[in-house]
Amino acid sequence: MRSADTPFVRSAARTDLDLHLRVNGRSHRIRAEARETLLDVLRERLGLFGTKKGCDHGQCGACTVLVDGRRVLSCLTLAAQAEHGAVTTVEGMVEHPVGRLVQAAFVAEDGLQCGYCTPGQIVSATACILEGAATSDEAIREAMSGNLCRCGAYPNIVAAVRSAAAVVERR
């Protein structure tokens, strides 16, 4: 079924890419390998260390970021795939209307122990509230199940999401 190489493919396929990424409202031009993930580019090339690498295989949620407002896993996103989207990391949460409230709620409710999973929890919770999924403790646990916490801070994480959702609701 496979036919010969074509000139178009030869010229368009790249192992090294010049990427234009928009992260937390800022534009970045970087050179990266095609195999680099968004997670590695954020941390190693842009110095944004808030986004954490837990498993690197989509199993823990520590690397959660928003792309065009939707929560995704940056470890399973190639940087090249993110080129046309607006990326928001935990560093961008201070300026995010809901993200700010979620951060404050995690502090108030003591929603962490070691803190490694926390950036992913905060970004994920922000999206989860905006999705309208934080309607009850059970719904929060289900909607947040993609974010594991090895310290088991779950009760306080659920409390933080619940209280942030309540503040958003009142506004």
């Binding site: 074509t6 999924a133 993609g146």
Partner: protein, 322 residues
């Protein structure tokens, strides 16, 4: 991950040209491809990003069929009003799959084509023998740790389980997979486990959509998934049902997941259910035939009873007898 090239296709024709190159594979959401490429279980030379192709992400109803575009994201499909109304089990199976983050990324086409979670397949650096990865190399799962391996369809070549949820529902609903070249019944899409091919698709063939008849069975479809933890986990056993009560006797279609090498219809169960009114006794009799062809290891032997009981529960619930 091996060093590889990337190309963003801007049309189906461009994608086809690039996929014609040896060593190239399609990249949709990337949640299977990026994972497996990092593990070395896949070693593509060129990733052809089809995620941006226009017109392949719509859900529409046409001539009595529900069509779902191959590039529609799982999260969007699970919340789609037509899907929820016409084939609720499709939404249910997606809602119960993976996590909120993964459902935002992953596409319907990619979901159907996801690879097995067999640890011996995934861990390419530790286990050289895997007929799925390297045809003819053997199977490291034989004599290994196999609680999640298949009891239906397993052979000496491969006993890895098909892990997806959506395709189980699609099998029960007699779904058609539409490609740029032809239509294939979903149950005919998958190749024999360990045969060296995952599917019957050509290397440069692109799935464009999947469709199901918007019939009475689809409207009364259900999906029951049992797993080791409540959420964010693959099925230990799952049951998809399409129940049509509009005719003389009930017409019930049954497919199961978490237990078989590919999405698995159970014609023997369907035949018992067709033979007369769906009493509790008949349901028990039907469920008892489900594991008739099962082949188990000491590790996954529990799945035989789990399958029978899950099927019985799903049928009782669907027929309001529970």
């Amino acid at each position: 991950m091996n060093r590889l090239a990337y190309l963003r296709a801007s049309s189906l024709e461009e994608a086809k040209q690039a996929l014609a190159l040896p060593g190239s594979i399609a990249l949709a959401g990337g949640t299977t491809v990026v994972d497996l490429a990092k593990l070395g279980a896949m070693k593509p030379d060129l990733l052809v990003d089809i995620g941006g192709l226009a017109g392949l992400d719509a859900v529409r109803v046409d001539a009595g069929r529900l069509h779902i575009g191959a590039l529609a994201r799982m999260a969007d499909v699970s919340r789609n009003a037509d899907v929820l109304r016409l084939a609720p089990a499709i939404a249910e199976s997606i809602e119960r799959a993976a996590s909120g983050q993964i459902r935002n990324m992953a596409t319907i086409g990619g979901n159907i084509l996801q690879r097995t979670r067999c640890a011996y397949f995934r861990d390419a650096s530790t286990y050289a023998a895997c007929n799925r990865r390297t045809p003819g190399s053997g199977c490291a799962a034989i004599g290994g740790v196999t609680p999640n391996h298949a009891i239906l369809g397993a052979t000496d070549a491969c006993m890895a389980t098909y892990p997806g949820d959506l395709a189980i529902v699609l099998a029960a609903l007699d779904a058609t997979v539409h490609t740029d070249m032809r239509d294939v019944a979903l149950v005919d899409l998958f190749a024999e486990a360990g045969s060296g091919r995952e599917t019957v698709l050509a290397d440069d063939e692109i799935i464009t959509a999947v469709s199901v008849a918007a019939d009475a069975g689809a409207a009364r479809s259900s999906y029951l998934k049992l797993r080791d933890r409540q959420s964010y986990e693959f099925a230990a056993v799952s049951v998809a049902l399409a129940v049509d009560l509009t005719g003389n006797g009930p017409q019930i279609r049954v497919a199961v997941g978490g237990v078989a090498t590919k999405p698995w219809r159970l014609p023997s169960v369907e035949a018992v259910l067709r033979a007369g009114p769906p009493t509790r006794a008949r349901i028990a009799e039907a469920a008892a035939t489900a594991a008739g062809d099962a082949r188990s290891t000491p590790d996954n032997h529990f799945k035989i009873r789990l399958l029978t009981r899950t099927l019985e529960r799903a049928l009782l619930t669907a027929l309001d007898l529970s």
